[in-house]
């Protein structure tokens, strides 16, 4: 069977001790027994040792909670995501590429020394290094899942993959459309020529503008508007198309920041940002922690704090990268929040990039409104507003590679248009999609049915998890249940989280994404992608999760 592709959404889990959440709990666990000691037993010795120990722990806690991205990056991402590497033999790590990265030169010789091995760049060398042959846990998981994939009849004990952000719920609709229309959509008539039935490759194969055909921009504009229930309309001349949202984000990073600068990104965030924003650009990400107590909503206070911390470290912040709906949690940002972020950006004179990748897959309550950054078109300083989008999620065609940059800034658009030469959309695919997305009836029907199925599946899956005591964050969009399994982890730490992740994979035969990959500061959260499940698979996978949960309970 074809190996399950890995979407852009996954990162390797870290194997290091994690963040502030652990620190707080540790401190709490120390203080309470102390009362007994100080009041009665132990006396002077303990009375002096224990405060010193406390002081030490306090320092440790403060240091961890300072949110030092470089440190935490080093600790928590020795292996940055290259999500699509499904090569079984790849034990190769990707380290964080900071702006000031030092080349590890153990196996490299300077070009001045003859008869040495040919040099590879800093960017490449850290990736190519193979650390002692051991395979990283994340890739082990993906490999296992693809080697042993679940199949109801053929392999009922195989691994069920909930770690890939794919939507299979509505593939049948797209397929149906293609069966009817594909041929003439790709090579028929060379475009507008209604009566020319002769297969013509001319319009498809010749050089076209790198940033996409205008017809496709028009079609994508109308599709996006449809997904946003026409709350906003898009001007195709403010749009640049590229080969996926991955290069769209990278192009924006290249255009808005220099190497060594930084973006603020609320956590938990899509693991692929580490690659898209940082790898080749040398730009840093400063995580802005969000907490479960607020359902992971972004607070401007946190944004401000992160900005100031960056400033203290001498890092120049160039923008905020938000996702709406958020991923992995699946919230919609409220209108108030969007405006507050804009105020903040205006105040600091920085950019706002809004990643709206899942907007068409939002399936929440009708009274929750979606506010696109594009709605703020009347704002006076709209040059700081940029939107990133793609067709991978909302219309389930990740393989076709179509990403969108939408901006009100002419210089950014101009730069982006030139930069898409390195990542253009393929000709035949453009023609196919022009036809598909221009089919208004099909698009309307698709978006409607897709939302319904996503909601139904979400309700069934989240409901099933709730029955076993696993709560999910409230979600309005996307393919994920963001589930709190902190009660089931052996220790309230990243280590504990990874142990549970491993158990789910090896014992439960369910592949999921641990929250540490998404830089969540609270251990124990897991991302389950439910959009790959058929109705019949839901009870199967819930049962397996229950099995693992029970065994964890009985152990603790």
């Amino acid at each position: 069977m074809t190996r399950s592709p890995e979407p852009d959404e996954n990162s390797k889990p870290t194997s290091n001790i994690g963040g502030g959440g652990g620190g707080v709990t540790t401190a709490m666990r120390v203080i309470i027994p102390l009362q007994g000691v100080v009041q009665g037993r132990g006396g002077v010795f303990l009375g002096s040792v224990i405060p010193c120990a406390l002081f030490y722990f306090l320092q440790l806690y403060l240091r961890r909670n300072r949110d030092d991205p470089r440190e935490s990056d080093d600790r928590s991402n020795p292996q940055n995501s290259e999500p699509r590497d499904d090569s079984g033999s790849s034990g190769q790590q990707l380290a964080e590429i900071h702006g000031f990265h030092r080349t590890s030169s153990r196996n490299l010789l300077s070009p001045r020394s003859p008869a040495g091995r040919a040099y590879v760049s800093g960017r490449a060398s850290v990736i190519a290094k193979s650390p002692g042959g051991s395979e990283s846990p994340y890739y082990a998981g993906l490999r296992k899942a693809s080697e042993d994939p679940y199949d109801e009849t053929g392999n009922p004990n195989g691994i069920i993959q909930l770690g890939l952000a794919q939507n299979k719920l509505t593939m049948d609709l797209v397929k149906e459309w293609l069966v009817k229309h594909a041929t003439e959509a790709i090579v028929g008539g060379g475009g507008d020529d209604g009566d020319d039935e002769h297969l013509s490759i001319n319009g498809v194969s010749t050089y076209q503008p790198c940033d996409g055909l205008m017809d496709l921009k028009v079609a994508v504009s109308s599709f996006m508007s449809q997904c946003m229930e026409h709350s906003v309309s898009f001007d195709p001349s403010n749009m640049v198309l590229t080969a996926g949202e991955t290069p769209a984000i990278e192009i924006l990073a290249f255009s808005l920041a220099d190497a060594g600068n930084a973006f603020l990104v609320p956590t938990p965030y899509y693991p692929g940002f580490d690659r898209d924003v940082k790898w080749r650009t040398g730009v840093e990400i400063i995580p802005v922690p969000c907490r479960s107590a607020d359902n992971f909503a972004l607070s401007i206070t946190s944004l401000d704090r992160a900005f100031n911390q960056a400033k203290k470290r001498g890092l120049r912040v160039r923008g905020v990268l938000i996702s709406n709906p958020t991923s992995p949690v699946g919230n919609l940002l409220t209108r108030e929040t969007v405006y507050s972020i804009l105020d903040f950006a205006r105040d600091k004179n920085i950019h706002v990039v809004s990643n709206e990748l899942f907007v068409g897959s939002s399936h929440g309550r009708a009274d929750e409104e979606f506010v696109s950054i594009a709605e703020l078109v009347d704002e006076v300083d709209k040059e700081r507003l940029h939107l990133a989008y793609g067709l991978s999620k909302d219309i389930s065609l990740p393989g076709f590679r179509v990403g969108v940059i939408y901006s009100f800034n002419d210089t950014v658009l101009s730069a982006a248009r030139h930069l898409t030469r390195f990542s253009p959309v393929s000709g035949p695919t453009q023609h196919l999609l022009i036809a598909m997305l221009s089919d208004v009836q099909f698009v309307q029907e698709f978006v409607k049915v897709n939302r319904e199925r996503l909601r139904r599946t979400f309700d069934a899956f989240a409901g099933g998890l709730k029955k076993m005591g696993i709560d999910c964050a409230e979600s309005n969009g996307g393919f994920f249940c963001w589930a709190n399994m902190s009660e089931w982890i052996s220790s309230y730490s990243e280590k504990g989280e990874l142990e549970l992740w491993d158990k789910l994979l090896k014992t439960g035969k369910v592949s999921v994404t641990p929250g540490s990959c998404c830089h969540c500061i609270e251990p124990g959260w897991f991302r389950f992608c439910f959009a790959t499940l058929t109705e019949r698979e839901i009870p199967v996978v819930l049962e397996r999760i229950r099995g693992v949960a029970e065994s964890c309970k009985s152990q603790s």
């Binding site: 590879v120 069966v179 041929t183 080969a243 255009s255 080749r280 730069a415 959309v425």
Partner: protein, 450 residues
């Protein structure tokens, strides 16, 4: 290729700052090479509707063999639709975004590349990394082989796009290896060393040599002896060798093209020699499918293959396109016929243009490949300088209405050379262009001006 030429817009007052990359000029599109495009875009020639328009002779596109492709697609519509009734194949295909690329497609590419080289070299499909075009492949390799501030050595004259593709985001520099008409612009050992020394004297770390073979803009293959020398040089200096072979299938006769892959195989090279060699290929030229955006990196270096593969996430080829081309390129009968026919037609075109230019008293470099010829208008220049060349070029674009590419855009060390494309138009249009040029040259010679 149609490039949007815009004036750099002025940033608004109190503007939020952009990166250096966003505002830099390194996209290089202010050079005459691109100004000629503009002239064409504003007044494009059309046989019927605009017979006095500018004829595009600056676009290296291959349109001579479209009919063969169309024919294939007409008889193999399943290539475009994932099989009869678009069944299971579609679902996997639409979801497929694995940066390893479709195995069937990689296999088909490897065997196509072998066919082009007459079976004189073998390609392992697992060393093929797919990118959305050769532009992306070249940039990717540069990111991988060099750090910002490092240098690549490139023989002149070279494709003007390299200034942008290899330097813009990577921060890498280009140091030219100067070649001269005295030996037909062949790369010499002394030129290689001179370039290297020049880089060193400027405190630049040289990371590699990038050779285009067959050469753009020369329209000629690099000789075996020169390739051997370049490889020896790369080994001596412990640097990389990138061989951009995107025109390999456009050599007029298969025997005349020697790939670096053949050199490696004939040497039975040590691993340490092989792992510095990387080949770039694309279907834009040989197969005339630039709109499909298909490029590849073939590397003999495992670390480079792994890294390139991961980095190709930024520039994946649509799975639909991979599928379509896998079907096409697996059809060995079709590809053999295509390669042979394409070569013949290109040679014929080349003969037409050479003859036409000769009648006008214009000589060209002896070429044997590619979609263009390298024309010498040196004798016509008022002054044998870059300015003189550009003055003549301006005249030709404006008055003769032919968009040709001046050698200075290609960093040619001698003024007066121009690249003229011949494969992106009908034979009739080519005749019109040749007539115009003939008339212009006659007039120019007679009156000393036009």
């Amino acid at each position: 290729m149609a490039i949007e030429l815009e004036q750099q817009p002025k940033p608004s007052a109190a503007a939020v700052a952009l990166s250096r990359i966003a505002v830099s000029e390194t996209h290089g599109e202010d050079s005459p090479y691109f100004a000629g495009w503009k002239a064409y875009d504003e007044n494009p020639y059309d046989e019927l509707t605009n017979p006095t328009g500018v004829i595009q002779m600056g676009l290296a596109e291959n349109q001579v063999s479209f009919d063969l492709l169309e024919d294939f697609l007409e008889h193999h519509s399943e290539a475009a639709t994932w099989g009869k009734g678009a069944t299971a194949g579609f679902r996997d295909n639409a979801l497929f975004q694995d940066y390893h690329g479709l195995k069937s497609f990689r296999g088909a590419m490897a065997s196509f590349m072998e066919q082009i080289r007459g079976g004189r070299a073998r390609f392992d499909p697992d060393r093929i990394v797919l990118t959305a075009g050769a532009t992306a492949a070249n940039e990717l390799l540069t990111f991988i082989l060099a750090n910002p501030g490092d240098a690549l050595l490139i023989p002149t004259p070279y494709y003007p796009g390299f200034d942008r593709d290899l330097r813009w985001r990577t921060g890498v520099q280009i140091v030219p290896i100067h070649c001269h008409s005295s030996n037909n612009f062949q790369i010499t050992e002394s030129a290689l060393h001179a370039a290297y020394d020049d880089a060193v004297s400027r405190n630049l770390n040289v990371r590699g040599v990038l050779v285009t073979n067959p050469s753009n803009p020369l329209g000629a293959t690099v000789q075996r002896a020169a390739l051997e020398q370049i490889l020896d040089f790369a080994v001596e200096k412990n640097i990389h060798l990138v061989s951009d072979e995107i025109y390999s299938g456009s050599t007029f006769s298969s025997a005349e093209f020697v790939s670096i892959a053949e050199i490696l195989e004939s040497r039975g090279s040590r691993h340490v020699d092989r792992e510095r060699v990387h080949i770039v290929y694309s279907l834009s030229k040989d197969l005339g499918l630039p709109g499909f955006r298909v490029g590849t990196i073939y590397s003999y270096n495992d670390a480079v293959v792994t890294t390139a593969r991961r980095m190709s996430s930024f520039t994946l080829i649509s799975s639909q396109t991979q599928h379509l081309l896998a079907c096409m390129l697996s059809d060995k009968e079709f590809t053999a016929k295509y390669i042979k026919t394409n070569r013949e037609r290109l040679r014929k075109r080349y003969d037409v243009i050479i003859a036409g230019l000769r009648r006008a008293g214009i000589e060209c470099l002896r070429g044997n490949a590619g979609l263009f010829c390298w024309m010498n208008l040196g004798p016509l220049l008022k002054e044998l300088t870059k300015e003189g060349e550009l003055a003549l070029w301006n005249l030709i674009v404006r008055d003769v209405r032919l968009n040709i590419s001046p050698g200075s855009s290609c960093h040619c060390s001698e003024p007066g050379w121009f690249r003229v494309c011949f494969a992106n138009m009908s034979e009739a249009t080519l005749d019109v262009a040749l007539d115009r040029l003939h008339q212009f040259v006659d007039e120019y010679r007679r009156t000393g001006s036009s």
